[in-house]
Amino acid sequence: MEQKKDLILKVSGVTKRFPGVLALNNVSLEIPKGVVYGIVGENGAGKSTLMKILSGVYEKDAGTIEFDGEIIEHTTPIQALRRGLSIIYQEFNLVNTMTVGENIFLGRFSENGGMKGTHQKARELLDSIGSKIDTYSLVGDLSASEMQMVEITKALSFHSKLIIMDEPSSSLTAEELKKLGDIIVQLRGQGISIIYISHKLDEIFEYCNIVTIMRDGCVIDTKSIEELTRSDMIAKMVGRTIENEYPPRAHFAGEPLLEVRNLNTSKLHNINFTLHKGEILGLVGLVGAGRTEIIRAIYGADKVKSKELIMEGKPVTVNTPRDAKALGMGLVPEDRKQQGLILRFSVGDNITMAALSRIAKRGILNRRKEREIAKRQIENLSIKTPGAATKVLNLSGGNQQKCIVGRWLELDPKILILDEPTRGIDVGAKYEIYVLMNKIVEQGGAIIMISSELPEVLSMSNRVLTICDGRITGEFSPEEVDASVIMDKAIG
């Protein structure tokens, strides 16, 4: 506590609310100068939201932020940068068609003495972190780790006092990661603080001095790294037992419905599993582990190297989503607005979309039947809408999601694939979706469910598979196994 005057960043009581979600709830952090500060938490814990507030992308609703002794009321990304706070996102913000030097000083050529001065200064900065990248080479030609060096150099060019690294290792090889580690140590030596956000706990233990664990928009604990163990950390990341948030688990698992054998793509390796009738199968893993890729490959939406599907004992081929639909599969995709709904279309048109060919006689639409279907699903799923003709754009997230579910229910699917079915929808609507899921399996359907919210998958599924780096790393019954064991397998 004596180093209080040496804080680079002090966040107190920051709260941020999105429609239907409390993204940050009274978050407080104190980051001293010259440390590597780790932030860990599940997907959706609020890490990214906090970073976006710090860097000026979002506005906070309440609380104060003190940066380098100065209270920051309002900031924009460029102001934050000029103050000395830079952020390196998982997806690099670089212009691939421009040179390294130009990227580092993008938009600041004149204040650095034109192109010549720009490249000269870029060279000096790159040398200072021991990088040998040519400032005249195109960023598009660089490797992922070199791009990261450029990002770090760009941060240094603003004389940053605090650099936020969001999942910096996700695109690096083991060797490149080591280089990054060296640079982190070097930056810390220069008195620069680093916020290191990662799902990979090994890195957290290797680089960080202090770690904050976040969950559900709250800070759960802040400890120095020596006081923490891996299992502690996982328990705190996961550890919540909110009852009655989920309906009682359904148990109708019967004979095998779909067997997936020898599924390989460029990202997936030897995926094998069986889905049973009346079962909810959960896929657990980090974002980017290959969960979505598995279901997209099964559904015929992505190209595969090899795939064998056996449905009800008979081998089947699924090359397009059309084939999948014909076999009785339905997909509720991850990105509701981009992949699930045609936002400009009406609620009714969105619901009837998949069923049209079934009700059309010789290709001619039947308006009356269309209206019937829309009405039936709106009532059945209690979709809150002024009418079937309302644009789906104007509905809340939960009701939009129900429209997509309704689209498939109309076809009585044997297998319904739900990718993040409750993302961004409020608690009440979530519960309705859960009840709906149970109803589907009750009627003999089967569900494959992906969710980044671990408690949700664990509470809803009869069985979960853990996915890590495109492989299935474990199979568990969530009723019998502790959440932290499953999380451990998913982190790999």
């Binding site: 639909k325 699930g340 400009r344 279309f345 060919s357």
Partner: protein, 322 residues
């Protein structure tokens, strides 16, 4: 009560349809001048001049609804006319020659569709290139000279009049318009086109045969352009490689002016027809007023830019309020 609601509804439609507003404005404007504008003869003339581009626009609408476009229609139209006339002059029976010309258009559409749908090329550029290519072929075939058709009965296809003085071209246009209107409104195929244009991925995941439908839209567009080419050649009783130089751009422009958005999924046959009609009406007005052709082109450009600009502006405003 009901008259009031009808008025409100009409007002809404008018504000939504800038092209209709433009038509009314032009008609009102012409009231102030003493011209031949308000004669039956002139209006028949306007409608007849709309037919060729209107027929092409129906096909182009299909591609634009699927979030693509087809700029090759000018070239397709030109080539189809050349093929028809050359074959007839060679002694091939007229129906067979016309069928071959029609197939040539469908073939062009199939190639366009293959390139856009399967090879994921940018439709704007690839169909523009295709149009140039087709024009090149037409020039080679005709040696860049107009060729007159030697079989006089070919002329009758497009130059007959029905019910006294109505050109038969208008009847063709009407039939084709109603056909497309019906397809887009009342068939599964039409609805799927809207879905594909609205959001390709959503359509694909909903099990719609996106590849085949988008491809077929190009084939239909090519065939319609070819049909227009046959009618134009029949009307002129000749084929020439200069036909259709501006057609590709004008038709696509007209389709968008009418309200069939380049982003896909919005619009329809009626909207496209209105868009084409605006352009033709404008030309006719200026002809009636005796405005020179250079100034005509300038004014036409200004109006197109104004309509589209105003449309985008009001949509932007609407989004800000939402």
């Amino acid at each position: 009560m009901s008259t009031k609601s009808v008025l409100i509804k009409t007002k809404k439609i008018l504000l939504k349809q800038k092209a209709v507003l433009a038509i009314l404005a032009m008609i009102v404007l012409m009231l102030f001048f003493d011209t031949q504008f308000f004669t039956v003869y002139n209006w028949l003339n306007i409608f007849r001049s709309v037919t060729v581009q209107g027929i092409i626009a129906m096909g182009v609408t299909m591609t634009v609804l699927c979030a693509a476009c087809d700029l090759s229609v000018g070239g397709t139209m030109c080539l189809s006319g050349v093929i028809a006339v050359l074959m007839i002059n060679f002694g091939v029976p007229i129906p067979i020659a016309c069928l071959c010309a029609l197939l040539s258009g469908a073939l062009v559409g199939a190639v366009n569709g293959f390139l856009v749908v399967h090879q994921r090329t940018e439709p704007f550029i690839i169909t523009l290139g295709m149009g140039t290519l087709l024009k090149g072929i037409s020039q080679l075939l005709t040696d860049a000279h107009p060729i007159a058709c030697t079989n006089m009965s070919f002329m009758q296809i497009a130059n007959t009049k029905i019910l006294g003085q109505i050109p038969i071209l208008i009847l063709y246009m009407l039939v084709i318009f109603l056909l497309f209107f019906w397809i887009l409104r009342f068939t599964n195929y039409g609805r799927n086109c809207y879905a594909i244009g609205g959001n390709y991925e959503v359509a694909k995941y909903s099990g719609i045969n996106t590849l085949a439908i988008k491809w077929s839209a190009f084939i239909i567009s090519g065939a319609m352009a070819a049909l227009a080419g046959i009618l134009l050649s029949s009307r002129m009783n000749s084929a020439s490689s200069v036909y259709g130089d501006n057609t590709g751009m004008l038709v696509n422009c007209g389709v968008v002016i009418g309200g069939t958005s380049f982003a896909g999924g919005v619009g329809g046959a009626a909207e496209s027809f209105i868009g084409i009609f605006v352009l033709q009406l404008m030309t006719n007005c200026m002809d009636c007023l005796g405005i020179g052709s250079y100034v005509q082109e300038l004014l036409q450009g200004i109006i197109i830019v104004l309509i589209l600009g105003f449309d985008c502006y009001s949509r932007l405003k609407k989004r800000e309020h939402a």
